[in-house]
């Protein structure tokens, strides 16, 4: 299966700009399906970006984040060619991870 994470990181001088798109239903637990049954809550709880063994961005998420979330941020201290590791874990214990090279 294709990764649920798309990530692009570009270094511009000292600053690395990161964009990521994650495929996830992010169900709130308040929405009903077509049969009128509640769709159980299913959402990403933790999203983490690591670079050179250091956490550069950690987010604790809840149900207020949209489906297929998009994240953009920038950080200092990385250079071209460094590895950026992205991982998420959801409330059902499912997780996914991917690594991207900073370009």
């Amino acid at each position: 299966m294709a990764s649920s994470i798309r990530v692009r990181a570009t270094a511009n001088g000292d600053i690395t700009e990161v964009q990521a798109l994650i495929q996830h239903p992010m169900d709130t637990g308040f929405v009903k399906d077509s049969k009128g049954e509640l769709i159980p809550a299913h959402f990403i709880q933790e999203l983490k970006f690591e670079c050179n063994g250091k956490d550069v961005f950690v987010a604790e998420w809840g149900t207020a984040v949209s489906k297929d979330p998009y994240v953009k941020f920038s950080f200092k201290g990385a250079k071209k060619g460094d590895d950026l590791k992205v991982s998420w874990t959801d409330n059902k214990g499912v997780s996914d991870t991917t690594t991207a090279k900073i370009s």
Partner: protein, 287 residues
């Protein structure tokens, strides 16, 4: 001075009278002239929005509003339809149980042909849309058809549109009275008011593009299908042309027709034909 005014007035009356006499006959002798219709349709939008570049109309509301355009440009760097696009590419390449693929059903293996759909099938005597052709391809190969409004169909059409990006829409109307009738029928559907709100497609997309309807900015009708299918943030998912028609209908409080009803096929034919020459921009992303 007064005499000239009188002459002017008099000739105006004569002109009016002539018009009044002539007009019923003009309507009666009204020929279906798609070429003139498309020209008038495009000119209407070009004149209404002189500052919008012609090929920009296919970007819907983003062509109408600078702020939205900036947000969209940023979004396009990481478009929300990417997952659908990848899924569509994979689905397109995956053979059916009988070993054949979608490529076997389409000219040029299905690549770069989006701009030719919908087309008029002279054997069937009806308009065939891309979505319809895809499901027929599935059925011909012993597979169950997909829902016209759901993700699989959107993914497949997203991929096919992507391979045709930038190609000018190129819809043909063959010299067949049934094709002209389908075009005319699509035109009628487009302009006919329906639903309790008494809206036609044109009420929003001809009379008010660029205006707000609640928080949204209305897209111009010109080139509106060139961006299909679309990822709509409002739907938090992909939608096909069928889905767009159906939701438009229910928003005006009209009971939608079944997907790929003759009327929908015809209105798709009409709208695509009048957008001839404008580039395919699908899959699109809309708020």
């Amino acid at each position: 001075m007064t005499r000239r005014a009188a002459i002017l007035l008099g000739s105006a009356f004569v002109a009016l009278a002539a018009l009044a006499f002539a007009s019923p006959r003009v309507v009666a002798a009204d020929k279906v002239d798609p070429v003139a219709d498309a020209k008038a349709f495009q000119n209407f939008f070009f004149q209404k929005f002189p500052n919008v570049r012609h090929e920009d109309f296919v970007n819907g509301p983003y062509s109408m509003n600078e702020d939205m355009k900036r947000q969209w440009r940023e979004k396009e760097e990481f478009p929300p339809y990417e997952f659908a696009l990848d899924a569509g590419k994979e689905m397109f390449a995956t053979p059916f149980k009988n070993g054949k693929t979608y490529a076997d059903c389409f000219p040029n293996g299905g690549i770069g042909i989006r701009q030719n759909y919908p087309y008029f099938d002279e054997k069937e005597g009806k308009v065939v849309t891309l979505e319809l052709a895809l499901n027929r391809c599935r059925e011909a190969n012993g597979e169950a058809p997909y829902s016209y409004v759901k993700d699989e169909m959107a993914s497949l059409t997203a991929y096919m549109a992507f391979t045709s990006r930038g190609k000018p829409m190129d819809i043909k109307i063959p010299d067949d009275p049934r094709a002209l009738a389908a075009f005319e029928n699509g035109k009628r559907y487009f302009y006919t008011r329906r639903g309790q709100m008494n809206f036609s497609c044109a009420s929003c997309h001809v009379q008010s593009p660029g205006e707000r309807i609640r928080a949204e900015i209305l897209a111009p009708a010109l080139g509106i299908l060139n961006a299909m299918p679309i990822y709509r943030s409002e739907w938090s998912g992909m939608g096909t042309t069928s889905r767009r028609f159906i939701t438009c209908n229910s928003q005006t409080r009209a009971v939608p027709l079944e997907p790929q009803a003759d009327e929908y096929r015809d209105v798709e034919y009409f709208l695509s034909y009048v957008a001839n020459g404008l580039p395919i921009s699908g899959p699109g992303a809309r708020p």
